[in-house]
Amino acid sequence: MILDTIDISQLLSLLTFNRDEPMLFTSGLFWVLFLLFLPVYAMLKSRRKKMMIFVIAFSLYFFYKSSGIFFLLLVATSIFDWWVAQFIDSSKNRTERRIALTVSLVFSLGILLFFKYSNFVIWNMNALIHGNFQPLDLIMPVGVSFYTFRTISYVVDVYKGRIQPVDDYLDHLFFLSYFPCLVAGPIVRSRDFIPQLQENKPATREMIYGGLFLVMLGIMKKALFADYIAQYNNIVFGNPTGYTGFELLMAVLGFTMQIYCDFSGYSDMAIGLGSIMGFNLGINFDYPYRALNVSEFWHRWHITLSTWLRDYVYIPLGGNRKGKFRQYINLMVTMLLGGLWHGAAWTFVVWGAGHGIALCVHKLCKPWLDTIASTRLSRTVSWLLTFTFVAFLWIFFRANTFHAAGQIISGIITDFEWAYLPVFLERRFTWCLMLAIIYALHFVPRRVWDSLRERFIAAPWWLKLVLFILLIQLVLQFASATVQPFLYSQF
């Protein structure tokens, strides 16, 4: 009866490339496919070669579903960089090695720059010379920013002699196409990943159910919290002049947590999936809003990106080895590039520049800051300053234009009244409650999370099932729940 109602062609269309519906870990389709993937993976796990071919095929399909034919770009990049790394390792001629590295960087970065920044360049050219160049109709391959950084780190590490090149091409393709890291990182390094792949240890109970715990945590952050609170933030950032200073401030606080839950939630899911498959992908976010200064924030925020920028931009530029002034320049260049990596718009550059300036100021003041005794008051003030600054810069990250960012900032400064609080609480109670919960959870001590994870791993099967179902049902409950767009305070 049920089977009679299933439309096979509709089902097949779900499985083919659709640019509007990339396959994400939060989609039902992914979990249905993962359910088919898992038993085959488990059976092949001990037979390394077959397991690798199977995972590569699944990963490439995952990429195809989100990016269509562009999955071939990933394959081309992997072939080219694998060959370049072999060549660099075998060549004794320094010039040849340098040329090979340069060609590899031009190839990888060329693809990234073309897809991500072509239109940005065209818009700026039009603005500068009053031209009329038409923007290109480009589909950006999903995750290109992430796998480009992974492949660059591999080739550079081989060039620098930090690692040996991977002999087996399949190992390299597995690393580069590995689906948990494909869409949004973490930016795992070859030197951390390949040894695990070659060792191919069986996944333990702790890894499998600890991974599920992380996946659930990620679903909670991304699909429950971030997606719900994003509704209000989108409304306000889309039309800042329609809102009071109080509402604008709430949207800034909301976006501050939305972006954390979004990024870190997706990372948690990726790391959890990796753990289920027996791979340790490290950590990517370490409670960043607990940071007491901007340097610490960057040690906690998107760790694999910040360490990548440190190792492959900041240090090669000279790091702190060429005097204070050069160090500040290097920091600024690194953070400007970091900003631009997040998106092709000047608002992202300003966001990066803001962080760069803050890092320079912190480095400059560090000798003096170190003399201040660490008291509860000093820590609170440090935290408040850091949090306020980070939240302030998120305005530029999220706003569509500088004009909109300016409207938000001036609205908060000139049109702020606490009188809106009761109305806001009444009409957007669920939103406020959710935001409060997220902020509270962010400050739950790590040992509590570790303990919860251990308890979850040890819990009976049926309890894990109930918790999983409850979480997914909560996501469903809130998926179509809406936030009141306007407060008709005059009524």
Partner: protein, 267 residues
């Protein structure tokens, strides 16, 4: 197979079966007053009847509709020059639109009833019986609707709002109508797509591409801009709409509907 993988797989499978089975209750269900929502598996697999493909063999009924209830692409009723009893319903956008439409009605001999339900959306209209009550009370023979501005950012909107939109269209039934889309100030999450899909051919005016001068709140067009918006809609109704009626230009200015009904924002 590692027994822990078996445990995880059976857990995921049990959860999937649970949600797939529940998904056949596409409208969800109630447990102790709490509305339980269900996943979209059944709908994605085609359990919900999809749009039927039109073939040459399909014939139009007396109202010019295909067997699927829709008008064929490009279908237009002949110009109706009789005086109409017009009902104009919608959200706060009517504050700017309706006075201008009233001016047209004055000029062309139509009677206009304006119903503003502040902060309303297809959800609250669809969930209530208000539209049917209004139709029963005022017996309109032409309806204008302007809704969607309060749901520009609703997530998963096609799934969430389609039933409510369908219910509204069913309530309108065979009465000729025009649905004026929301004046986007930012990209929406699908309300305009949904309206394009569900509203009859020639009955949906897409406002998203129009340029508006905004009032201080940023969301509503200024009054002059709203009047120009209504002018554009009327020009479209006469030239391209499925149900053209007599709407000659009254010149500048606004007027007042013969009756204005206001409802408070939904709770």
């Amino acid at each position: 197979m590692n027994k822990h993988y078996w445990g995880l797989w059976s857990l995921l499978l049990a959860a999937l079966v649970f949600f797939v089975v529940l998904s056949f209750w596409q409208d969800g269900f109630n447990v102790g007053g709490l509305e339980i929502k269900t996943a979209s598996f059944a709908r994605d697999m085609g359990a919900e009847p999809g749009p039927r493909h039109v073939t040459d063999a399909d014939t139009l009924d007396a109202n010019g509709r295909l067997p699927n209830g829709k008008h064929p692409k490009g279908w237009r009723a002949p110009m109706d020059t009789t005086a109409k009893n017009i009902l104009f319903i919608g959200d706060s956008m009517l504050e700017g639109l309706a006075p201008r439409l009233a001016k047209y009605c004055d000029k062309n001999g139509h009677k206009l009833v304006e119903v503003i339900w502040y902060s309303s959306s297809t959800l609250c209209w669809g969930e209530s019986a208000r539209l049917t009550e209004l139709i029963n009370e005022y017996h309109p023979d032409y309806i204008f609707v302007c809704l969607g501005a309060n749901e520009l950012y609703v997530p998963d909107i096609k799934r969430a709002r389609r039933p409510h939109l369908k219910k509204m269209l069913a309530e309108i039934g065979d009465i000729p109508y025009v649905w004026i889309g929301p004046p986007n100030w930012d990209e929406d999450t699908g309300i305009n797509d949904l309206l394009k899909q569900e509203v009859d051919e020639g009955c949906f005016y897409l406002s998203a591409n129009d340029h508006f001068e905004r009032s201080r709140d940023g969301a509503h067009p200024t009054r002059p801009s709203a009047h120009q918006w209504m002018d554009r809609v009327i020009k479209w109704v006469v030239a391209e709409g499925a149900h053209p009626i007599r709407l000659e230009s009254p010149g500048e200015g606004i007027s007042r509907a013969s009756r204005i009904v206001i409802y408070q924002p939904p709770k």
